[in-house]
Amino acid sequence: MLEFKSVGKSFGGINIFENLNFQLKKGEWVGLTGGNGTGKSTLINIATGFQLPDEGKVNLGNVSLLGLKPWQIARLGVKRNFQSVRLSESLILRDQFFVPDKKIFDNLEMIQASGIKGFLNRFPSECPLPILRKMEVLRALLHSPSILFLDEPSAGFSQEELHEFSQFLITYVPSSISLVIVEHRTELMQLVCTKSWGLFLNEPLRIM
């Protein structure tokens, strides 16, 4: 479904990766690990159109994603969350799904299960970090993605929260969605993902 073909990217003269190849199939749940500066976030940025690769091809099905703007890619169903939580300080959580109300009501069960229901009428500054992270994941899910990139979704979670969260993902993320979880900690991906990839400096993508 999503395919990277010999993609290369460098930043200010520092090579982040070169000749990166992989294929993400429909419904595949992949955990992506790797050291710092190996370009995990850059990979997401390229796949979602926020950055342009220096070389190579990025295809979604038959469509080339190169040259498409981030919003066009998002409309094609490639969604993401952000490592630094991006929520508006001036809106209560309920107003931050940015979907019609009907959709919120349809998915009420999911919202309830995520444990953020009690916080829906609060501002982000009144909620603990794990809630905000869940909120971001929920927001992405409500936008019915076909591919979902989660950048460090469990950062700041305690062990119990992590288990709960993995259970939540397994129950509520439709199996037709391809999921890519980028993390330093491997616990979440071990619980959730069927496949895991490793990204290391100056090496091709390692499938583990």
Binding site: F11, G12, G13, I14, G34, G35, N36, G37, T38, P128, L129, P130, E152, A155, G156, F157, S158, H184
Partner: protein, 210 residues
């Protein structure tokens, strides 16, 4: 020694810390462990005076009143907040030199060589650094202010194995040079034999001491 006695911190109605006492001697590594939101960061922030607190902080024999990061730094307590705390608009070298400027001491060449891993990047803008590299730069900057005590908030979190080991090795080296190091929770260093004491914070209170 750096001694914290009966520290209380309150945010609005929430009691973030109550009656916390901690002792950090020179040449020790002390670990503060606890869940997210248990009050680890609040404790470090309170020590350097970033949040208002009740209680005493004693450096050597002096009780420090009206603490501020500036004041504690000049008394030899260097604090490094969570995350990649670097100035992306400055070069790596300038970032590190900032440490000595902050403490109002002379630049020392040693500080630039704390991590040989980043020595080739000295004249690059810090903007281009990866997470691990920027953590090393921030660490080297803390060292440049020539501290007696180091307070590091989550120094190893978000790092991959390589940089983690490099920084941990440096911490042990500092310990052996007689510097007191206080770091906050990191599950993968818990069992490390180099840690002299471990405090577990739960709901703003010291739960256990090892």
């Amino acid at each position: 020694m750096l001694k914290i006695e009966n520290l209380y911190v309150k945010y609005g109605f929430i009691q973030a810390l109550s009656n916390v006492s901690i002792l950090l001697n020179k040449g020790e590594i002390v670990l503060l462990d606890g869940h997210h939101g248990a009050g680890k960061s609040s404790l470090l922030n309170a020590i350097v005076g970033l949040v208002a607190s009740r209680g005493q902080v004693i450096i050597g024999k002096n009780i420090i009143k009206n603490r501020s990061p500036n004041k504690t730094l000049k008394l030899g307590v260097s604090f490094l907040p969570e995350g990649n705390c670097i100035f992306s608009n400055l070069t790596v070298k300038e970032n590190i030199e900032l440490g000595s400027v902050l403490a109002s001491i002379k630049h020392s060449e040693n500080a630039l060589d704390v991590f040989p891993e980043i020595s080739h990047l000295m004249n690059k803008k810090a903007f281009f650094l990866s997470g691990g590299q920027s953590r090393m730069v921030a660490f080297a900057r803390s060292m440049a202010s020539n501290p007696t005590y180091l307070l590091l908030d989550e120094p190893l979190s978000g790092l991959s194995k390589g940089p983690q080991e490099i920084i941990w090795k440096k911490l042990v080296e500092l310990k052996n040079n007689g510097i007191g190091v206080l770091i906050t929770g990191q599950h993968n260093v818990q069992e490390n034999s180099e840690i002299d004491h471990k405090y577990i914070i739960e709901n703003g209170q010291i739960d256990k001491v090892f």
